[in-house]
Symmetry: D2
Subunit: 140 residues, 4 copies
């Protein structure tokens, strides 16, 4: 994962307890890593859920490709970028590498995030401020 591949990244320790009975990190942990990278991205663009009455992001779709097993002990770096924006949603992609091998993806994935009114559950358009923040962060 080149330093420029993702606009935002988080560095996370693998915990011993992340491993399952097969002796490597369980698949659901990757989704937790993705979530944390996504939240870090949201913080950078000011898209933070402020209680049940706010407008904010919901996860509509997620995918993950598991490319190589990960075992404790390790640290992972999880990168994420917004690949494209729609009217009421945007597409993120993720990449995960070991901190000790930053050029080899151990997993990659994607997400569709929709902006909704938490009270009604209805989709709301991305604001201009949000689009501008994404473009600035992505250097577009």
């Amino acid at each position: 994962m080149s330093k420029d591949a993702f606009a935002v990244s988080v560095r996370l320790p693998v915990l011993w307890g992340d491993m399952d009975a097969l002796g490597h990190v369980n698949n659901v942990c990757y989704l937790r890593w993705f979530e944390q990278a996504r939240i870090a991205y949201f913080e950078r663009i000011g898209l933070v859920s402020e209680g049940p009455s706010a407008i904010g992001p919901i996860l509509a779709t997620t995918t993950c490709d598991f490319l190589a097993p990960v075992t404790y002990p390790a640290e992972v770096v999880v990168g994420t970028s917004v690949e494209r924006t729609g009217r009421t949603s945007f597409v993120m992609r993720y990449g995960v590498v070991l901190a000790t091998a930053p050029d080899i993806l151990v997993a990659k994935g994607s997400a569709v995030v929709v902006t909704v009114d938490y009270a009604s559950g209805g989709k709301v358009p991305l604001t201009e401020a949000l689009r501008a923040a994404i473009d600035a962060l992505e250097g577009r």
Copy 2:
């Protein structure tokens, strides 16, 4: 989800602790539900990992579409079927409904499962016995 839509299903309680700070079941829990349905399917076709030296399944790809939020208290029914088989892999699809509303999908997803030699990590072809067990379970 019609009773015939999936070859195998598991019924699982939603736990209070499955909810996150937004007050509904966190996205990673759905992947845990998918995993449990997948394992139940594997048990039905005799594809059970027997320690680190065995031949067994690994998860190569997973996807999830979140269609409606789930909140505690609830019970979910998670169905799964093998949609098609390849030489060294097969594709599963999943559907999740509330036990109280069995016709309304709250999530759906898919997985690509590869059969590997756990010791070497290399892909191995699906055995004829495994193909036959899948076909029998799917009624094909």
Copy 3:
């Protein structure tokens, strides 16, 4: 665990993913089980947290004794009772058995639960209604 040992019990499936790299259910899962039994108890006595502004329970202390390993597949029954009440708190105890061996505890534990004003964080006395509900449920 005799049928009369605990006022409230919940029956929960062990998931394959609850196991850790040692091949048995990881210790933190027991605390999740305790939590679910505790929540079920709270529901029975009307002690349900209704958002961040309510008065409700917080967990002050928890203990767990691991008496025998649990492995997937299994179902556990988690019982809980309020052992005694104080001015602003009460003590719960827990017992966990396999559904197939209801007389053999695989774990036991305890909790101290304090009732607080969620907004201020300050302790508040147990109401008379709450004491009465506990006594009724415990048959005291």
Copy 4:
């Protein structure tokens, strides 16, 4: 938590997904933190479980006192020490602080760890090498 209070400590990020529906870190996460500190301690004294046939540690008892709520974002430092050793077991204590407030415990706890033969499940005495490693690490 003074720097000298615990022989081993780990620094861990709080994840957004660690929070539950009440908006603070769920109680089971503290047990995951304790586990990771315990594993780090085990590594320092050479007490590492090497598969199902080895001699190694099992957790017999755990306790946790929750002293103050933790919310994302935060980093916690989890310290642990062996307080005393018995014939086939030892007692650990834990302390958790926020990285930004290292003198204020947000949680503390303890564990009883027993050394067993994983194959038979039977307790085995602590070896002299293990006692020496503990004493060296604790500066006793």
